[in-house]
Amino acid sequence: MRRPKLTHIFPFLAGIVLVALVMAGSRSETARAAPDAIPVNAPAVQMDNSDCLVCHNRPKFTTSLPNDEKLVLTIDEDKFNKSVHGENQIACTDCHADFTSFPHDDLKANSLREIATTYYTTCQQCHAEQYNKVLDSVHQRALAGGNTNAAVCSDCHNPHEQTRITNKDSGEILITARLHIPQTCASCHSTIYDAYKNSVHGNALTEENNTDVPTCIDCHGVHNIQDPTTVTFRNSTPFLCAKCHTDSTIMDKYGISTNVLNSYVADFHGTTVKLFEEEFPGQPTNKPVCTDCHGVHNISKVDNIEAGIALRENLLIKCQRCHPGATANFPAAWMSHYEPSPEHYPIVYYVNLFYKFFIPTVLGGMTFFVITDIYRRIVNRVKGVRHS
């Protein structure tokens, strides 16, 4: 039997009808009290949430779907009331618009995934902005391509339990919500989460509740998440990392240089990538971006003994990915984000210093001679002297 056993529900029927009649006036008031901003396709005959909960707050209320998956029909009333939807008194029927009367038909779906991938469109009634962003996302593209595992709204935001994410006034993301983000993504991307959790960023977030570090969404975005394996994404990586890593208000706390982007762009690799990013963002370049040396989700501190690339031996392994024949001296060809100075990369420093004086000296001397020659020619012409 797929259907909830109606015989169990039947005794409540009379009560519901009675309550419905008595509460008719106040019910319509409740509907009007819903926030103005939320368009509600009010059904002709409305049922109150409490009507639904008569059945749906029963524990272990489930039904079997044609593919033998179990659909849990129990709604935790307490959790719903604490959720942002509960707080805003969103009616069950706002989303479940095809269940406006009782008894209602079965949900026509073959699998849990089918329910999720057909129901999420209902979110656009109120969350049009977010919904439209999702339409441009890698998740939506995968879904459109037939991959039903691709996340839809309800995979990240359980509509019956999702609490408020942003500050109501400022719109800023709440700290508790921020700390929870990686776990949300982890439900589908668990191996990436494991790598992240152990990275310098993820460790600070999960162990120290540090909100300076990036969560998933800081690099990938929310809702309109783009495919991070594209050339365009790769070419823009340095500027993505630079959003935080050139921000001294964050970096100064940890004694991290904010010159990392400039020093990267000043180098051969970075110059190339920046030019690609600006002129041909969709074309691949074999020059490395931040993540090629520092890692992606598993970024470690540069002085980490095992993987830190401040250690030449560790860096050499990174170099050899693209420069297979590189030997021990090779990593020093990369200036490790240092500005050349007498302490760091002195030869480079002194070469620059040499040309700083050599160029003006030579050109100045040449220019001086040329000017005197012009002067002499003018004087001779004025005086009528033929040039010897």
């Binding site: 002129e279 041909f280 890692g295 990593p331 060809a333 030869i347 030579v362 040329v370 005197t372 002499r376």
Partner: protein, 285 residues
């Protein structure tokens, strides 16, 4: 004008003019494709970058021009060898104390301290300065260019730091070379007087009298370079050609090595990690 203006003197045989043309084209190409690499953010730099098809194409053109210049240099060395060992010409391009004196005298003349401009021979101090500046530049650019072209090979023998140092020197030297050409060469042979000798190969007696009076005097006196007689020439060639052949092979090998010493970087990068994207956590309770 007097008869002397129509009396032509051969200054540059056609092969030397071709040599000049090769250097002119390769130098200009190197400058045009090199400076945008040093200043990619500047608007002229970005303009050149775009019309030439982007940074990678620019590098390809730059390196092709460098190869042309390497061949030009090798050819010049062989011709110089022929001039010195076979023809036994005077080594008129070597700098001398007299050149420094001439330079100072020219400067003093220009600012009005001495009354006469120096009289010079086949190559004036200005021309020698430019020649040796070019030679110095070619040596610096060649060496530093090698470090950047073949960083893996270079760092097998030298500290890694030499590679960014080479980049710094290559850029500094480039600015110096291009501006020196604009200031010195432009003025010396285009503005001061449009000197067509490198194109026509000849100068008039009038021009010779003004610019190379000592050489003209030598020619008139019959003590300028004279061709050796046929027998001597054959004997010297017999001696020079095998050596030149060896030198040629060595230089061609050097150029080949310069170009092919290593494959610096893979042209395609494999993704850092092949991650399975969808790995759901074990079902929540």
């Amino acid at each position: 004008m007097s008869k002397s203006t129509t009396n032509l003197y051969l200054r540059f045989p056609v092969l030397r003019r071709i040599e000049h043309l090769i250097m002119l084209l390769s130098f200009t190409t190197l400058g045009l494709t090199g400076l945008p690499q040093k200043y990619p953010e500047s608007s002229p730099g970005a303009f050149v970058l775009n019309i030439l098809g982007g940074i990678e194409t620019l590098r390809l053109i730059h390196r092709s021009a460098a190869i042309v210049m390497m061949f030009g240099t090798a050819y010049h060395i062989l011709v110089m060898g022929y001039s010195v060992f076979v023809l036994r010409d005077q080594m008129s391009m070597l700098p001398t104390i007299q050149d420094a004196k001439d330079g100072i005298q020219a400067l003093l003349y220009n600012i009005g301290i001495v009354k006469t401009y120096p009289q010079m021979g086949r190559y004036t101090f200005e021309e020698k300065l430019e020649y040796w500046a070019f030679a110095w530049g070619a040596a610096v650019m060649g060496a530093t260019g090698f470090f950047m072209w073949n960083p893996i090979t270079a760092t097998q023998y030298l500290p890694g730091q030499f590679v960014p140092a080479a980049k710094a020197a290559h850029g500094g030297e480039a600015v110096l070379a291009v501006l020196a050409i604009i200031i010195w060469h432009m003025y010396g042979v285009h503005i001061k007087r449009f000197n067509k000798a490198m194109w026509t190969g000849t100068q008039t007696e009038h021009e010779m009298l003004h610019e190379h009076p000592l050489e003209l005097a030598d020619i008139k006196a019959g003590i300028a370079d004279r061709r050796p007689d046929a027998a001597t020439l054959r004997k010297r060639k017999l001696f020079y050609y095998p050596i030149a052949a060896i030198v040629t092979v060595v230089m061609l090998g050097g150029i080949f090595g310069f170009i092919n010493a290593e494959e610096t970087a893979l042209t395609t990068i494999t993704p850092l990690t092949e991650t399975e994207i969808y790995v759901p956590q074990t079902p929540q309770p």
